[in-house]
């Protein structure tokens, strides 16, 4: 009986071992973030010269740092960098030349906000529409498209970035808002299967009743399907928005003329050369403060919306 108790239930040997592993993991993640917060509140004298790498900020040297001086310096540093690449290419609108330039902090925030919103909206609308059509309209093409989505996900196509960059430039879609919408108006990816499962599980009763009342397909879609899927759409939008806000590689590749906040801060943390030649501005606590500028708003957003974001999103088995 004792042996059975040790092996079953929430206080079994196995569950205690897994719990211990999880506690270690959680401590490692929170530990690193807490170290980042503490470091961002230390002056470069306290951290660099006095060697206070893991302790609390020393009040003697970090008085100004505790008033978020490093955060102000991080913003100044970001604005002093030349962001973007040198490029000169032809398009259907003629030749387009791009040069690196200094970007105000407020412009980076706006770029990030616009980029994340446009990309997320475009993707959510497209993927939701196509998955609804494939789930509820039992035509042969729906089945073909469903299978194609599996194939697209499973079959790796490597090295197409050059072709995509060239296409975007040739069409004059590189570095403009229309390009952002068009590039992200796609239905490939994991969210297709999540929406597909959601629509397959949705009862046909509502749509059949609406049909009997004489509603058109557009009215059914707008007045019934969209409201019923609002929560799912909201969750996917938030997740896509966070991805767009954090990511910088796609925006750097396809939209270099609209540098985002994450790109600007990535340049600081990689030690990019600035017009401000100042040991304090280019010190580690300032770089860490830059990380915190990026991280803290999203931590607050996530903790306040964690139930929505972590709501049931089942992909299930992806079978033909």
């Amino acid at each position: 009986m004792k042996k059975v108790k040790l092996l079953t239930g929430k206080f079994s040997v196995f569950s205690i071992c897994v719990c211990t592993l999880l506690i270690v993991y959680v401590l490692s993640v929170t530990g690193v973030l807490f170290w980042g917060l503490l470091t961002s509140l230390k002056s470069y004298i306290d951290f660099g010269l006095m060697g206070n790498v893991i302790g609390l900020p020393d009040l003697q040297y970090s008085k100004d740092a505790l008033l978020f001086r490093n955060y102000r310096l991080a913003i100044e540093y970001t604005m002093s960098l030349a962001l973007g690449n040198n490029s000169y290419h032809s398009s259907i609108f003629g030749f387009i030349e791009l040069r690196p330039r200094s970007v105000p902090f407020w412009e980076m925030i706006i770029n990030s906000f616009v980029y994340s919103t446009l990309c997320s909206l475009a993707h959510v609308i497209c993927v939701m529409t196509v998955s609804y059509l494939c789930a509820k309209f039992k035509y042969a093409f729906s089945k073909i498209l469903n299978t194609m989505m599996l194939v697209v996900m499973m079959i790796p196509i490597v090295g197409t970035a050059p072709a995509k960059v060239t296409l975007m430039r040739d069409l004059g879609l590189s570095s403009n808002y229309l390009g952002m919408i068009i590039l992200n108006f796609h239905f490939t990816g994991m969210y297709y299967f999540i929406f597909h499962a959601h629509f397959q599980g949705m009862s046909d009763t509502y749509t059949e009743a609406a049909c009997l009342d004489g509603a058109s397909q557009v009215q059914i879609f707008v007045k019934i399907i969209i409201p019923l899927s609002a929560k799912m759409m909201g969750t996917i939008f938030v997740l896509s928005f966070i991805g767009g806000w954090n990511g910088y590689q796609d925006s750097l590749l396809f939209f270099p003329a609209q540098p985002t906040l994450s790109y600007g801060l990535q340049r600081i943390t990689s030690g990019a050369t600035s017009s401000i030649q100042n040991a304090e501005v280019q010190s580690l606590p300032v770089m860490v403060a830059a990380c915190m500028i990026l991280a803290l708003p999203l931590i607050v957003l996530f903790l306040s919306m964690k139930d929505v974001i972590l709501g049931s999103m089942t992909m299930g088995g992806v079978k033909e």
Binding site: V4, L7, T8, K10, V13, F14, S15, C19, L21, L22, Y25, V26, T30, V32, W35, G36, S90, C126, V130, L133, F137, Y139, M153, M154, I155, P156, I157, V158, G159, T160, A161, P162, A163, K164, V165, T166, L167, L183, H186, Q217, V218, F221, W245, N246, Q249, L252, S262, Q266, T269, S270, V288, A295, I299, F302, I309, L310, T314, G316, G317, V318
Partner: protein
């Protein structure tokens, strides 16, 4: 009456088709352009060479047969260690991250003590930008290490250019394995939460242990999801950048610490149609990508077939 009903049904079917194709048109156009055309263009590019036109702006294009593939093959042979690094990462993801993700998901799905906090904290790294964790991790492995342990070993930190390549690689590998759980655990947990409670209750009445319940009940239920993740990770072997851009800020890491995924991205960013010094041109990159694609397609499809055939069944 019957005629009216038939005509009504016909009109309904017609309006459904008009709606279907009307709503599908734009997404299909985007798909045709950015998937089919881009991939076709990439294949075409692999057989072409671009050179600047003399005396005017623009590029001249010429068909060069398999020349780009020869250059790509030389790149692979000269940097076979990039393939080794990619495969090493995949192997450790398979044997460490995947089993741990399933164990963590099982613990959270069973709502054992502190599962709510664990669920949030496992997903948190997915929410925060990768630059943040990579930067903090880099500073801990360099400045903090130098202060605390520099006198004992690796006086310049774990990621310094003059540190041993194997140490740098292990440090980068650890970073990847440390933050890999968020998405996996969320999806596994959702799938496990959907398991029929009566099956679990009857198994508990029979006195199954923690491990037996996981192996005989939960694992077969999540096997299709597990198969999907294994295959998707395999498909991403040669595009996985291993977080190198975030850790090293876009600069080329020390020789021996690189993957083809990072090499592709770095080259796409800095190179051009004609190529720059030391970098493959877009055409040569396309040829390289095609070669990897032809290796991965049978691997991913074969792995998926085998896992579906020999994996545990729900019955």
């Amino acid at each position: 009456m019957e005629k009216q009903a038939k005509s009504g049904l016909k009109n309904l079917e017609k309006s459904k088709k008009v709606f279907y194709w009307g709503m599908m048109a734009l997404p299909l156009l985007q798909f045709a352009l950015f998937y089919f055309y881009v991939n076709f263009s990439s294949v075409l590019m692999a057989f072409q060479k671009y050179s600047p036109k003399e005396g005017e702006l623009g590029y001249a294009v010429q068909f060069v047969g398999v020349t780009n593939f020869k250059t790509a093959w030389e790149t692979i042979v000269n940097s076979a260690w990039r393939i080794k690094n990619s495969l090493t990462l995949y192997f450790f993801q398979l044997v460490i991250v995947t089993p741990l993700a399933i164990l963590f998901s099982y613990y959270i799905a069973k709502k054992y003590p502190l599962s709510g906090i664990f669920r949030v904290m496992l997903y948190l790294p997915t929410i925060i930008s990768s630059i943040v964790f990579a930067t903090l991790y880099r500073f801990i492995c360099t400045d903090v290490w130098m202060k605390l342990f520099g006198g004992w070993k690796y006086p310049n930190g774990l990621l310094a250019p003059n540190t041993d390549v194997s140490v740098i690689f292990a440090t980068v590998m650890f970073y990847n394995l440390w933050l890999a759980y968020g998405q996996n655990v969320m999806i596994y947990t959702s799938t496990m939460s959907g398991i029929n409670q009566s099956i679990i209750e009857s198994a508990q009445l029979d006195g199954v242990s923690f491990f037996q319940e996981l192996w005989y009940i939960y694992l077969p239920q999540v096997w299709p999801t597990f198969t999907t993740f294994v295959v998707l990770q395999m498909a991403g072997i040669f595009t996985n950048q291993m977080g190198l851009f975030d850790i090293f800020g876009g600069a080329q890491p020390k020789e021996g610490v690189d993957t083809f995924g990072f090499y592709f991205y770095r080259s796409s960013l800095r190179s051009s149609l004609v190529g720059d010094e030391g970098l493959l041109s877009y055409s040569e990159l396309s040829a390289l990508g095609l070669m990897f694609t032809f290796v991965l397609i049978p691997l991913t499809l074969g792995t998926r077939k085998l896992m579906e055939k020999f994996g545990p069944s729900v019955e």
